[in-house]
Symmetry: C2
């Protein structure tokens, strides 16, 4: 099985390293300096010369670059082409609008870091993490099984299957909204180095604030409806606390906090059961 | 030096355990079942019978209970009475309105957990953490030095000194606002157990959602102005992202994200320098 990874950043690099750890050897594609470094460090065996040589191609590029790559290269008939973008509906829509003989599977690893690039990639990044596979009536079951096997060897602890729509709705909330909130949170003029005035709460709230704005703007635009709805909803909830505070209404504030606590407890129970 | 800890929950219990680790023996006060357990487990030496017996009393109770305790008990002349409440202005105002012969020092340990109670207390909770001491013209320097020495033995890594006003303004932002955001974040109907659809971002964003609403409502009311201002500001920022998303204005969205990233980078640099 010949494997190629297009894009050797944090995720692509980590895929290559975790495959190497499992005894696989993948070829790679990226900008020349990154590719050279990946070859020198043995992250990939060699630079991919012809995309038609490969049975499995992981496209570990940002959404627009991923679509351009998939649309712009010839692949072997039956080859498994898997992207790892954080939005799945837009990718499906693009891929299915193209003539193709390959088998496309949209994937999204639930693992990351607040830093990027090959230099931060890590063979153990996916250990125990979840991989989401977006499926629909076009999805080839055998291609999915092949990928599941490779993901398992990369260290992923579980595979989740769902539609692209379900994925995009969930991710808008669990990840995309969180990045906006974190990015907005640091904008208060009260924020300064203030060493000693922060515990874990502030660190957790602002860890992911430093998003790469060009990548994330596109992720937001490609899942705009779902993200907009979640953000509108969160602002609506925050305005309730704000109104209670402004009025000095202790009972209302207590009720709002209690509602959140109960919801959190319910989520924690659901996580344990599921 | 005779030490007493009033309130043997997460913080008070951890103070007693970390003092015991350093070779000190403290007496304790709490509701009967908690106190019995603390005695049985050797967290405290014995139940405090008379508050006048002690040179140092740590009042590790929620704000209202702390004020009631300090106002309602007789203390030895010159005794050092230190509360650990998350708001300092309200405590100072109360204490200084009372006739007193003791030396009051307002403190706030920058350590905690998202769980509470003696059963979650831990001798190492404060290891390397920061302790804030609120000072003003009434503060006794010798009392502060004595406490600093004890805090150091408890494992605290640094001591910060500031006014109650400065403390309350910073804490409204770094801690109190974060708890509101986390508490509001879990209220989306999109939230469910969805195992496999969350990475670290969601976990970090919602870790502190389950606040004890009776304690936190009071903390918010006792620092209402500063918290209201921070929340109003955050909602204002979030509304900018929302407007950009609603209009589909990619440039605006990118600009907002970039502004947050630059701010985050600046904060990270400041943290390293200071």
């Amino acid at each position: 099985m010949k494997i190629m990874i297009a894009g050797l950043g944090l995720i692509g690099g980590s895929m290559a390293k975790s495959l190497a750890r499992a005894g696989y050897s993948a070829d790679g594609f990226d900008r020349a300096p990154v590719l050279r470094r990946a070859e020198e460090e043995g992250v990939v065996a060699r630079a991919a010369a012809d995309t038609r040589d490969y049975d499995v191609v992981f496209v570990a590029l940002p959404p627009d670059a991923a679509m351009e790559y998939i649309g712009g290269h010839p692949f072997r008939e039956g080859a498994v082409i898997a992207d790892i973008c954080g939005v799945k509906g837009a990718l499906e829509k693009f891929v299915y609008s193209q003539p193709r003989a390959f088998r496309y599977v949209g994937c999204h690893p639930m693992a990351g870091k607040e830093v990027s690039g090959l230099e931060n990639s890590d063979a153990s990044l996916f250990d125990g993490a979840s991989m989401i596979i977006a499926e629909n009536e076009h999805t080839d079951a055998e291609a999915v099984r092949l990928l599941e096997s490779l993901f398992s060897e990369m260290g992923f602890g579980c595979i989740r299957h769902c539609s692209a729509e379900y994925h995009d709705a969930k991710i808008a909330y669990t990840s995309q909204l969180a990045h906006i909130v974190s990015n907005a949170y640091v904008k208060s003029p009260t924020a300064d180095g203030f060493p000693g005035f922060t515990g874990g709460s502030f660190q957790d709230m602002t860890r992911i604030a430093g998003v790469d704005e060009s990548v994330w703007t596109r992720l937001y635009m490609l899942n705009r409806e779902a993200v907009t709805e979640e953000l509108r909803r969160l602002v609506g909830h925050l305005n309730e606390y704000l109104a209670a505070l402004e009025r000095g209404n202790e009972g209302d504030l207590c009720g709002l906090l209690k509602e959140g606590r109960l919801r959190k407890e319910q989520l924690d129970v659901e996580r344990k059961i599921l």
